[in-house]
Symmetry: C2
Subunit: 250 residues, 2 copies
């Protein structure tokens, strides 16, 4: 998509991109200090920083003040929190977020059932066990919950869908953290996760998809309930700035 030559920023982006493609740079690697790198590329430090900023915004680079600049590591995600920004711009609604997640994760679960490997099953099993063990500790529980879904995404064998899921999940995360779930809910949640795990392990794609959908539907209604007794009013395009803010923060 991006033109090369002219714009300095694109020159930087393409240069780093090439370094990645040739294997010269790998996830976790550090790039040279800005001053040095800028000299090597024959551009000003300011321009170099523009390019790096661009890559950082897209989640490809990870800049750490006082330490250095690194190639992003960990699960790929499209543009850190870009979804919430876009949401502010286009008025995304909470339920749309959940719907998107429900659809993605359901398919992910089905794919995981078809393509998952022993190692994935083992990880899933482990996380389920941890979930049961931390039913009394929502904070801890959430960590394993997230990991569980992340393992499924990996097991699906499609890193792109996994990245999309990661994007939505992280946008949903903040809101979710605020929902102080009760222990009884967590027990039910753990049960559902166990069901999902079993369906995947037995390579029953349809079942995995169905249970995952049930799980996420329940999670959504639980949160809706928590947030307000009133069901979400879909004004579609309403003026009320109040509602707008709500949709935005999701």
């Amino acid at each position: 998509m991006p033109k090369s030559d002219t714009h300095m920023t694109m020159r930087v982006v393409n240069h780093i991109r090439t370094m990645i493609e040739t294997g010269e740079l790998q996830p976790g690697d550090r790039i040279p200090p800005e001053r040095e790198f800028a000299r090597k590329l024959r551009i000003s430090r300011a321009s170099l920083r523009t390019g790096i900023g661009y890559l950082a915004a897209m989640g490809v680079m990870d800049v750490r003040h006082g330490v250095g600049t690194f190639v992003a590591d960990g699960p790929p995600e499209l543009g850190k929190s870009s979804l919430s920004l876009l949401g502010a711009l286009h008025g995304f609604q909470s339920w749309q977020m959940f719907e998107a997640r429900r659809i993605l994760e359901s398919e992910l679960a089905a794919l995981a059932a078809e393509r998952g490997r022993e190692q994935h099953f083992a990880s899933l099993s482990e996380e389920v066990a941890e979930m049961y063990a931390t039913v009394g500790n929502p904070m801890e529980y959430l960590i394993h919950d997230v990991r569980f879904h992340r393992v499924i995404a990996q097991a699906s064998g499609n890193p792109i869908l996994a990245a999309l899921m990661e994007t939505i999940t992280s946008a949903l995360y903040d809101e979710r953290r605020k929902t102080a779930e009760r222990s009884r809910d967590l027990k039910e949640s753990a049960d559902l996760h166990r069901e999902i795990y079993r369906a995947i392990r037995s390579r029953n794609a349809a079942e995995a998809r169905a249970v995952m959908e049930r799980h996420l539907t329940m999670a959504q209604s639980a949160q809706d309930l928590e947030l307000a007794g009133a069901p979400a009013p879909l004004s579609e395009n309403g003026k009320p700035r109040k509602a707008r803010r709500k949709a935005v923060d999701v």
Copy 2:
């Protein structure tokens, strides 16, 4: 996700975000000239530019040299071409891209069948007609093809899923453009689009999903064939790094 206060870049991002949330800024609007805006925010122009660059990278702002900086207009998309960058980093494969698209668009078609409105149906019908009319002109055809899918995304009533689709599609676009389709293929393609349109209009979600899936599966195998048949793909910049580039550029 982003901390506020300290980092200038986040101060800018949050400020603009707030302006968007309050409705002070709307898609298509122009923000003040950099020098002036920087003065108003009490920060240096460089810092302001960093923040704007961040927003631009995520597709929220649209910067035009010599003209001005605008709030993004048109269909939302997550981080312009961030997918192809991430692809380079994590080695995304072509088939994974197609799979993701197939899953997303199938669900989108189903949702469109359930929620679409008369105006959407009218647009779809129009695009189908245009497709038949431009069967002899691949360039023109492609435009209406893209529009057709975009209208379905809108009709689905879920802008988030639509944005995800847009992201994948635009990453796929370059590759797709190179595939000089023959007229006969286009005729078949138009027929399928017409089927999809009919299913949606008759609110048959299952049928819409199925036909869409068939359409995209065919499109994928057609392109695979094209790529395999012509063994001397344009290397775009000389380097023989074929296999690698393939996985990357998709």
